[in-house]
Amino acid sequence: MSQGQYVALAYGVVLVFVLLWVAIIATKLTRLERETGELAEIARGRDTDG
């Protein structure tokens, strides 16, 4: 590999790390959305009962 390619590799790794982090946050957000939805269901159920 040429020197320039190593530079590209280094900067590319940083980019990939940040993107992986974004992916993990996205997964977490999806889970949080699901859980909030479930809680909203429970709350709605409570409302109609009470």
Partner: protein
């Protein structure tokens, strides 16, 4: 809680600053006479390393405040800072390794004090997560993790000296890389990259914290509703 609404601005600023940093580091800064194009890795590698140290330091600071003053939010803050530190620490090792390969032809050198120090710290902070996830949630876990974070920050200077001493008899320092004699433009580019990486770390920290706090709130809500 204060500054909750400035996160979007900070995030966009981080994006802009990072873009500027990349342009400066890769295109604008003059090529180093001695090391050639591989020296450009330095513009990101060193700020990433400095940021990792800062994250560990902040994690320890929050831990100290937790032990002194208390408050559950400090546990999450300390934990998140240490998480960022570990991410940036891993990045330091990887970018450092790539730079080593580009400069010296080897992926790893025990003679590179900075790389070895980061390896020790990385191992230490990985154990932090093992420890944290093996203890029941609660005040005790918060305190134990806080104490461990304090040990980490004490380990940094001690390890630094140890590795300096060790290089006498374990591996003679074969490869020497002087800090580049930076021209004005190079130094300017370095500063911008440092600011960009620091801001990036802070934005990541704040974002993760939002997620963790929401998680905690949701759990409380769930308990309240059921």
């Amino acid at each position: 809680m204060s500054s909750r609404n400035n996160l979007p601005i900070l995030a966009f600023s981080a994006a802009g600053l990072l873009g500027l940093a990349v342009v400066l580091a890769l295109l604008v800064a003059p090529e180093d006479a001695d090391q050639g194009v591989s020296q450009r890795i330095f513009y990101f590698h060193v700020p990433i390393a400095l940021t990792a140290y800062a994250c560990f330091g902040l994690g320890a600071w929050k831990a100290l405040r937790l032990l002194w003053v208390g408050g559950e939010r400090r546990d999450l803050e300390s934990y998140t800072w240490i998480h960022q530190g570990t991410i940036f620490g891993a990045l330091t090792l990887i970018t450092g390794s790539i730079w080593a390969k580009a400069s010296w032809g080897v992926w790893w050198s025990w003679g590179s004090n900075q790389l070895v120090l980061f390896l020790v710290l990385f191992l230490f902070y990985c154990a932090y997560f093992m420890l944290r996830f093996s203890i029941e949630e609660g005040a005790r876990r918060e305190r134990i993790c806080a104490v461990y974070a304090l040990f980490g920050v004490a380990l940094i200077p001690v390890s630094f000296f140890a590795i300096r001493l060790a290089s006498d008899f374990i591996h003679p320092t074969v490869f020497n890389r002087d800090g580049p004699q930076m021209t004005g433009t190079m130094f300017g580019a370095f500063l911008v990259c440092w600011a960009a990486i620091t801001l990036l770390a802070y934005v990541m920290y704040r974002t993760e914290l939002v997620g963790k706090r929401t998680d905690a709130n949701l759990r409380e809500l769930r308990e309240a509703l059921s």
